[in-house]
């Protein structure tokens, strides 16, 4: 059984390591007829040098994983039905849809698809039995991070994406809260929602390279409203003004947007008094796994300012690195802190004073100890996903 793992347009480092982890997880399984699983990852095209480096990361340690160039080709849905007349008629009234292109068989040679859900790209045309991997539906909670207003194209595309998702074999989620969102927000029937174990980055070697006694905090963030930038910066300002001493490094795929040296376009509209705190923090842009590993090796704790990231990247990295975590208290963070056994401080309000208090608590190591709960992890792993994709 050959399964395609199709990444979304603009897939970042968080999607890529998940694709690799999922590929390796599925390769450990067998198809219901006892045959081995084969994996083809569709990796969106970028410049060829970068793409090759990303391909190498995905194949590192497991050359059974095949990586193909991917481009999502947008076509009118009626045209897609003319191209693939055998496809199930599920997308009536959806004006256009996305087809995966790989400059070859276009993944039609695969038996099933696992699509990394992205509502921005609309409906994926279901040529093959399709499942969706849904990290979160964060636009339910922070729409501004994805759309400036109701006229944004996102909302049209999202409707079409949800229509496709409702017809899929299964939508895989890692927490029951995200499952609730897939039900109540995306409108997928409960019997099509599958809770799977949280994927974790594999082949990660953490080697402490601490050279001083100074505590080092990595701040995982991104330049959008999901990361509550203004409150986070103001909290840092308060923390430092009140004598906080942890060295803070802002870690992001777009860290340059925060950096005083490059214009700080991510900080438009934030009061200058708050912005001044960026003069006392470091900025690290991470594009590849190696960039991140280097930073994790010297970190004492991770703080993520995300307010609705379903699979909080900072929390997962803290879990793998064996260091504590600071973040906002929302259902998915609570669930993952427990299932992954991460010592944490979860602040209850999006309030700069509360966040500053949490940073002080982190500095003195006042974390809630990890209480890993194996019972909450789905016991059959990802095997049910394969069964759903296989079954009629």
């Amino acid at each position: 059984m050959k399964i395609a793992i199709l990444l979304e347009e603009n897939a970042g480092i968080a999607s890529r390591w998940r694709a690799k982890a999922l590929a390796e997880t599925l390769l450990d399984e067998t198809s219901p007829d006892g045959e081995a699983i084969e994996i083809a990852i569709g990796l969106p095209r970028t410049n060829e040098v970068t793409w090759r480096k990303q391909e190498a990361e995905l194949r590192a340690g497991n050359n059974k994983i095949i990586v193909r160039h991917l481009e999502w080709e947008r076509v009118p849905t009626e045209m897609a039905y003319r191209m693939f007349p055998q496809a199930p008629v599920e997308l009536e009234f959806v004006p256009d849809c996305a087809l995966p292109r790989d400059w070859g068989w276009n993944f039609v040679d695969c038996d099933a698809w696992v699509v990394f859900s992205s509502r921005e790209q609309g409906a994926v045309f279901p040529i093959k039995p399709t499942s969706y991997f849904v990290r979160d539906l964060a636009e339910r909670f922070v729409p501004k991070a994805y759309a400036p207003d109701l006229h944004s194209v996102l909302w049209e595309r999202q409707k079409h994406a949800f229509r496709a998702m409702r017809h899929s074999r299964v939508a895989a989620v890692s927490t029951s809260s995200t499952g609730d969102d897939v039900s109540g927000y995306a409108g997928v029937r409960r019997n099509r929602i599958l809770e799977v174990p949280q994927l974790l980055p594999r082949h990660v070697k953490t080697t402490s390279r601490k050279t001083s006694k100074e505590k080092h905090l990595l701040w995982f963030t991104a330049a959008n409203a999901n990361f509550d930038i203004e409150n986070a910066l103001e909290a840092l300002r308060i923390y430092q003004a009140d004598g906080g001493t942890m060295k803070v490094t802002l870690v992001s795929e777009d860290a340059h947007l925060f950096d005083p040296a490059t214009g700080q376009t991510a900080l438009l509209g934030i009061p200058s008094q708050t912005i001044r705190v960026t003069n006392s923090i470091a900025f690290e842009t991470v594009q590849f796994e190696a960039d991140l590993q280097r930073l994790l090796n010297r970190a004492d704790a991770i703080w993520s300012s995300a307010i609705a990231e379903g699979e909080n990247e900072g929390l997962i990295r803290a879990s793998v690195a064996g260091i504590p975590f600071v973040g906002f208290n929302y259902p998915q963070n609570r669930a993952h802190a427990q299932t992954l056994g991460v010592s944490s401080i979860l602040y209850d309000e999006q309030d700069s004073h509360k966040i500053a208090d949490a940073l002080f608590a982190a500095e003195v190591g006042n974390f809630v100890p990890a209480q890993k709960s194996i019972a909450q992890t789905p016991s059959r792993g990802w095997a049910p996903l394969i069964e759903r994709l296989w079954g009629a």
Binding site: F93, R140, F141, P143, K144, A147, D149, L150, W155, Q158, K159, H160, F162, R163, R166, S177, D180, D181, S183, G184, Y185, G187, V188, R189, R190, Y330, P331
Partner: protein
């Protein structure tokens, strides 16, 4: 044993709504429909609806959907073109106030409609003053005088503004009537006596009989919600979404998702915005998987209501969904499928809330914002107080939603008896009370003669 009277009393219904007006599903038109059905049940009266020429067919079309027979339980009249030509010729020299239609209609009524009494459906229908027979006039409410801000000020509150002139017209029309029918004590007192200066003895308080949605959904047994009935209601909602091209709700699993429903127009009194805000907080702040589906339209950009800003500025349109103008079956399905019905309104002119009656009639509990209409309901149903909230208190509203959602069947079981008690007084009784007010049969002297 029901004994039908051989000769029915003829009751006139006076309406000056011009051709092209909306009739079907409008507030007072629905009450006329209920009255006709009530009269059909008792077989004591026949309702004669009089409308301006050009309006009759639209009214007939609506009345033909009732559980009542044309010509036997109801008739619709309009002046003929011949009458109008003759009338205009005869009155060419007369200095009638404009518009002339009410005078024409009244002359037609006096000459050609033989009824025992009239019911005027609105206080601003001035032609009723010219009727020669006994008459009653309805006073639904004078809502603008309780909630004067939020309308078009120049249009409504200028020296000759609509509400300003309404007050004089309503006073004159209602004073001229032999009886005034109010639907609640609070309207009779606050608007009838205190605002309009009517004589309290002139006012008859005739509350509506509570509506019942269950007959619209025949798969519901004993008003009870089951997994199966919710599935069927959800199917109706999905079919409607597909028919209307409401893409987000096409194939939506309504029966698997907890949601509140809120059925109303959006008006300054309706408080839709705070119900929407309650659901917004539940979803965005407390991360609860919940939705609000409302029939209130989103008046984009309007500032007289808080509702559009909650939806548009906060982009909550997937969790706070507006689907206005629902057909009756879809409305009933929405109420059955919902986990809870919210009635956040500050004020209604009736006793209680139609949405409460409709909700529990199909197995769904309702929570109610406290206003004079709810306080009047609580006088006879104090057990419902547990399900009421201060309409300004969003957190209290949220707590009540959560309480209901935790055990909806239990909540409903505590709300149903008040409804069943009120249902003992049906539309046949209400129709009789209207007819008696119209004919004067309920006056003490008449009652004495009849004894």
């Amino acid at each position: 044993m029901i004994v039908s009277k051989l000769v029915r009393s003829e009751i006139g219904v006076w309406s000056e709504l011009p051709p092209g007006s909306r009739w079907a599903n409008e507030g007072i038109s629905r009450i006329v429909g209920f009255l006709i059905e009530g009269a059909a049940e008792s077989a004591e009266f026949r309702y004669n609806v009089l409308v301006p020429r050009g309006m009759a067919e639209a009214v007939r079309e609506d009345l033909r959907t009732l559980q009542a027979r044309e010509n036997i339980d109801w008739l619709v009249h309009e002046p003929t073109i011949e009458f109008e030509c003759t009338w205009r010729a005869a009155n060419a020299e007369q200095d009638f106030p404009k518009p002339e239609m009410p005078s024409l209609l009244a002359d037609f009524a006096n000459a050609h409609i033989n009824v025992d009494g009239w019911i005027n459906t609105f206080p601003h229908f001035t032609g009723s003053r010219l009727l020669k027979q006994h008459k009653a006039a309805m006073l639904p409410d004078a809502i603008a005088y309780d909630f004067p801000i939020g309308w078009d000020n120049n249009h409504h509150w200028g020296p000759q503004g609509e509400f300003v002139t309404w007050l004089d017209i309503a006073h004159d029309t209602l004073s001229n009537a032999d009886a005034v029918i109010a639907h609640s004590k609070h309207v009779a007192h606050r608007h009838g006596v205190k605002l309009l200066g009517l004589n309290p003895d002139q006012i008859r308080v005739v509350p509506h009989a509570p509506p019942d949605l269950a007959p619209i959904l025949p798969f519901i047994q004993d008003r009870t919600k089951t997994e199966e009935t919710r599935k069927k209601a959800a199917y109706i909602l999905r079919e409607y979404a597909a028919l209307k091209g409401i893409e987000y709700l096409r194939q939506f699993p309504f029966e698997e998702v907890p949601f509140a429903a809120l059925a109303t127009q959006d008006r300054v009194t309706k408080n839709v915005g705070r119900a929407a805000e309650a659901v917004r907080r539940m979803v965005r702040s407390d991360r609860e998987n919940f939705k609000l589906i409302t029939t209130a339209p989103v008046h984009s950009g309007a500032t007289w209501t808080l509702f559009p800003s909650v939806v548009e500025n906060q982009q909550t349109h997937r969790d706070i969904i507006s689907i206005p103008d629902l057909p009756r079956e879809v409305h009933a399905a929405l109420f059955h499928c919902a986990t809870v019905i919210i009635h956040p309104t500050f004020y209604e002119g009736i006793v209680g809330s139609l949405t409460y009656y409709e909700a529990v009639s199909v197995g769904t509990p309702c929570i109610m914002g406290v206003g004079p209409h709810i306080l009047e309901l609580l006088e006879t149903a104090p057990e419902l107080r547990e399900w009421t909230f201060d309409p300004y208190d969003i957190e209290e509203q949220i707590s009540l939603i959560r309480k209901v959602c935790a055990a909806p069947a239990q909540a409903w079981s505590k709300q149903i008896s008040a409804y069943e008690n009120r249902r003992k007084r049906g539309w046949d009784v209400v129709a009789r009370a209207y007819a008696q007010a119209a004919t004067g049969a309920d006056r003490p002297d008449t009652l004495k003669k009849g004894q």
